[in-house]
């Protein structure tokens, strides 16, 4: 499967996605109107705690629902100058957590250097790992040891605890490779209750919402331990946002309206407070800044007056800024809420 970008699909253009999402006749009120209906102010950031850095769109997988439209055919990657700008911003703001994502960030030739430099500056490093990269090539087999060397938190993703549903979303053989990678992580001490955190992201393999995170975690833990002898720490249940390939899937299967109505209907005012954009800034591979990873994919820059590029972040404050919102934000406020760290309530 090729990315939308490689096939020149109209939806590979972010503005086209925004046009679909912000259609005045579209399902449900505009997001800010919904906040107002509930007597809530526009969404504002609090204090910057996390820098989420997308270091490139290349990935060894081409998942059906990827909101990044990542894949082997995506060549965009962050250069060392931009990485240096990120490090300066981490120092200037005393940023406590650096969340490194992609694509498969480990495929970036400077990934290890960058992760080590973040760690050297006292930041807690999170790596968003798709698992299969660890077994994709011999040169990646030592990734668990590398993660351990910088005490990184590994947030891996696994669509489901069965092979059939996982492979349907991610491709044949992905489940088996993921199990091998999880064994390697467990063998290094990850997920074994020894302080090396191995958390798992679950997002539904289709046009439905995730159930209760706590219940899903119990099921994943029970099934993975019983069937494969695998352990992990926490499960993060994340709602699919109608962006990029997942939006394409919703439109092509005529599930878009139904899915959006479901998100809007499940709007939970108490999930708003904990959304991730309030405490983070997202950096694109080229250094452009956004309120979150989803806004990055939709190319919605931060509010007017805010820095546009990571090179300007060291000398600017982004606390208290207005967060740029859209109908896609219903994905983070549905039910128990959704963020890169799972439920927000």
């Amino acid at each position: 499967m090729k990315s939308l970008s490689a096939t020149h699909d109209p939806l590979s253009i972010a503005a086209r996605q925004v046009t679909v999402l912000e259609d005045p006749e579209g399902p449900g009120p505009l997001f800010d109107d919904m906040l107002a209906t509930h007597g809530m102010e526009i969404l504002r950031a609090t204090q910057l705690e996390t820098l989420q850095v997308n270091i490139g769109k290349m990935c060894n997988q081409t998942c059906v629902h990827c909101h990044v439209d990542a894949g082997p055919d995506r060549k965009e990657k962050m250069d060392r100058k931009v990485m240096g700008d990120c490090l300066r911003a981490i120092e200037a703001h005393g940023i406590r957590t650096v969340d490194i994502t992609g694509g498969a960030p480990e495929m970036h030739p400077d990934f290890r250097w960058f992760a080590k430099e973040c760690h050297a500056r006292g930041a807690h490093v999170i790596v968003r790992c798709n698992l299969t990269i660890i077994v994709a090539n011999k040169k990646y087999h030592d990734l668990p040891a590398f993660y351990k060397s910088i005490n990184a938190e590994v947030v891996c993703s696994l669509p489901f605890y069965t092979a059939s549903r996982t492979d349907h979303q991610r491709g044949d053989g992905v489940f088996e490779s993921s199990m091998k990678a999880l064994h390697m992580l467990n063998a290094e001490g990850y997920g074994m209750g020894e302080g090396l955190l191995l958390n798992m992201v679950y997002n539904p393999a289709g046009a439905f919402l995730p159930g209760a995170q706590e219940d899903l975690e119990k099921q994943f833990k029970k099934a993975l331990l019983a069937d494969h002898g695998i352990r992990f720490d926490k499960l993060f249940a994340i709602t699919n946002l109608p962006i990029s390939r997942f939006l394409d899937y919703l439109l092509k299967t005529e599930h878009y309206e139904e899915y959006m109505e479901k998100l809007v209907g499940a709007f939970n005012p108490s999930a708003v407070e904990g959304v991730m954009c309030r405490t983070m800034v997202s950096v694109g591979y080229d250094g452009d800044l956004f309120d979150c990873d989803f806004n990055q994919m939709l190319e919605l820059p931060m509010a007017i007056g805010m820095p546009r590029h990571i090179s300007d972040l060291s000398t600017s404050s982004v606390d208290g800024r207005r967060i740029m919102t859209g109908r896609h934000c219903y994905g983070c406020t549905a039910g128990a809420g959704s963020s890169c760290g799972g439920s927000t309530t």
Binding site: T162, R165, F208, L209, P210, G211, L216, Q219, F220
Partner: protein
């Protein structure tokens, strides 16, 4: 007026049954909500039971609703299909167990 007996869009209108009988409708939905809460059975177990019953009573709305609900609650395809087989086994068994009544009648009539 629809030209077919079932329209998937009608599922969303289920709550509208209170339009013709408010009190009983509201009592039903209140009861329904209580039934599906976590109790001695988990919400997930109840959802699988509902999926099985939906097939037994052959309600397309319920099948749609509880296929989605069991998916959301993390059930696997195998678990969902096993629930349907439970419904099928009970329905089949209910037919076959009446075979004993048939046998009793036949024996009564032919063996005097």
């Amino acid at each position: 007026m629809d030209k077919t007996y079932y329209n998937p869009a009608d599922l969303k209108k289920f709550g509208n049954i209170t339009e013709f009988q408010k009190e009983l409708g509201e009592k039903f939905f209140s009861y329904y909500g209580e039934v599906f809460k976590e109790g001695a059975l988990t919400a997930r177990e109840k959802s699988l039971i509902a999926l099985a019953v939906a097939h037994a009573v052959q309600c397309p709305y319920c099948i749609d609703a509880y296929s989605t609900d069991t998916l959301e609650k993390g059930c696997s395809e195998e678990q969902m299909m096993e629930a349907v087989h439970v419904a099928a086994a009970i329905r089949g068994g209910a037919t076959l167990v009446h075979g004993v009544q048939m046998m009793n009648k036949v024996k009564d009539l032919t063996h005097g």
